[in-house]
């Protein structure tokens, strides 16, 4: 349950619009951070790691509605700044292929980016605690903890969608005299609550049961976490054996740019 598989038009406008705004702000910040370094080093590595995630996400394990993500490995290889951009790119391509909604693209970017950054941080922490020969274990542990955290984040988002006070904000504005969210569009289309089923009880749309959603997610999720952790551990173990420099010597993304210019690249105009 790495990213939200909630269709368009289910979450309230204020929630997914906030997700979009926050995701775009983070992507812009990450892109600005990247400008200081070399673009032509970063674009190819960003593209191939995003493509690897797409390859993984395109294979679904149907009975438990789970697909591989490889977000932790991608996070380890890309580092935090590029992870945010990779998460956005992957979600854009998936949305175009009908996998994952367009409106929830912002929230999905945030969840995937959180997964990549948390995975990267936990892997580095566990690698320091355990010996480097236990890279597979470190990656496996990091994956399980990361997926547990992001699944909780997902449940939190669904719970937020239930908050009737919050749904008022999608059409309202803060009234400074009362410090409450009022509705400045008392008449017209906004009054009808077109975009929020919770505010239109006449249409008979009941709220989502968060406890039931959490029960299903937490009972199916661990199977997926275990599969993902095993595969991540095996791949990281394999990479640690054949190309350990990719995991610890700053990773390919870092080596390709951050701070120092790679040998042979004089950045001259051709």
């Amino acid at each position: 349950m790495s990213h939200i598989h909630i269709p368009d038009g289910v979450l309230p406008l204020w929630l997914w619009a906030s997700g979009w705004a926050l995701a775009l702000a983070l992507v812009a910040l990450a892109s600005l951070a990247g400008r200081r370094h070399e673009l032509r080093r970063r674009v190819p590595i960003l593209a191939v790691i995003s493509a690897i995630m797409l390859v993984a996400m395109s294979s679904e394990i149907v009975p438990i509605a789970y697909h591989m993500n490889l977000t932790v490995i991608a996070g380890i290889l890309l580092g935090p700044a590029l992870s945010i951009i990779a998460a956005f790119i992957v979600e854009v391509v998936l949305a175009l292929l009908g996998h994952g909604g367009v409106t929830v693209l912002g929230l999905n970017t945030l969840i995937i980016a959180a997964e990549m950054i948390l995975g990267w941080a936990l892997f580095n922490a566990f690698s320091r605690l355990l010996a480097r020969r236990a890279a597979g274990w470190a990656a496996g542990l990091a994956t399980v903890l990361t997926l547990l955290t992001t699944t909780t984040l997902l449940v939190g988002i669904v719970a937020l969608a239930q908050n009737p006070a919050a749904t008022l904000r999608e059409t309202g504005a803060l009234d400074p005299s009362t410090l409450r969210f009022g509705n400045p569009f008392a008449e017209g289309a906004f009054r009808l609550g077109l975009l929020s089923p919770e505010e239109a009880p006449a249409t008979g749309v009941p709220p989502i049961s968060v406890s039931r959603f959490a029960a299903v997610v937490y009972s199916l999720g661990p199977i997926g976490w275990l599969i993902e952790a095993l595969i991540t551990a095996a791949i990281v173990g394999f990479v640690a054996r054949v190309r350990p420099g990719l995991l610890w010597q700053n990773g390919p993304a870092a080596k390709m740019s951050f701070g120092r210019r790679p040998a042979g690249d004089e950045a001259a105009r051709h």
């Binding site: 509605a65 009908g98 077109l194």
Partner: protein, 266 residues
């Protein structure tokens, strides 16, 4: 995910939808998404989905591929609908929303080559995002092919057959690991190519030389009509709900006409 088939349909297909301008198709996608956002009527959503299916048939798109791509999110939507426990009709509505939105996206992606889809996005995103978007799609083709090849080679060498789950899983993991290393070499090669060509930001996508104005207008008008129907039913639901069956009926008629047209001009 058969990206090669998606790309083949987008580049080699010949239909009025292929001729429409990419920007018009993106506007149409936005209008259909608006309809999906607004509507909580399962019959209205079913009608919109049928109208989109009619467009798939009329544009001679690969039916199996379109159905697979549009049906994929329904599995997840079904789980979400069950998990959220909102009752049968609302569960059906959630699945209908997922399929309708996916079908609209699939219509765009099956009729527009990916550089043409990404070029409008490239203009509004930071350089690194726009360029990486273009290169990601290209890399995904190569990596999917490489993954399939490596997996096949490992399975043949290990003599693996269908039911050896653990050994097959191990082989798939090994293949994925090899593809990961290959992808890093691919990134290095791409970097060499970019450096050789003097890339300093912003890959250029050649704009489409010709597109059909009537096709573009037709795509926009049709999608706006679908949006209007959803909006009308949402606003005037008290008086219109008893007539909701009309929408899927019209959609079905459109689908049958499209099928007839496709069969006759085969």
């Amino acid at each position: 995910m058969d990206l090669a088939a998606v790309d083949r349909s987008a580049t080699q297909g010949r239909s009025w939808l292929h001729d429409a301008a990419p920007a018009a198709k993106l506007i149409s996608l936005a209008a259909v998404l608006g309809a999906v956002l607004v509507s909580w009527n399962v019959l209205v959503l079913a009608g919109i989905a049928l109208a989109l299916a009619a467009a798939v048939v009329a544009a001679r798109l690969p039916l199996r591929l379109a159905a697979l791509l549009a049906g994929y999110p329904s599995v997840f939507a079904l789980i979400f609908a069950f998990a959220s426990g909102t009752g049968f009709v609302n569960s059906a509505t959630i699945v209908a929303k997922a399929v309708t939105a996916a079908l609209a996206a699939v219509l765009v992606v099956l009729t527009t080559p990916y550089p043409r889809i990404f070029s409008p996005l490239q203009r509004v995103t930071p350089t690194i995002v726009g360029d990486a978007l273009l290169m990601t799609y290209r890399s995904a083709f190569l990596l999917l092919e490489k993954f399939a090849e490596t997996l096949r080679a490992i399975r043949l060498r290990a003599g693996l057959r269908g039911r050896q789950v653990v050994r097959s899983g191990r082989a798939a993991t090994l293949a994925l690991g090899s593809v990961l290393l290959y992808s890093l070499d691919l990134a290095q090669r791409d970097y060499d190519v970019l450096r050789l060509r003097g890339y300093e930001g912003r890959l250029r996508v050649r704009r489409s030389a010709t597109f059909s104005v009537p096709a573009s207008v037709a795509a926009i008008v049709t999608s706006l009509a679908l949006f209007s129907v959803a909006l009308l039913w949402r606003v005037q639901w008290r008086s219109l709900n008893p007539w909701s069956w009309l929408v899927p009926l019209l959609g079905l008629v459109a689908l049958l006409l499209a099928a007839l047209l496709r069969w006759r001009t085969r």
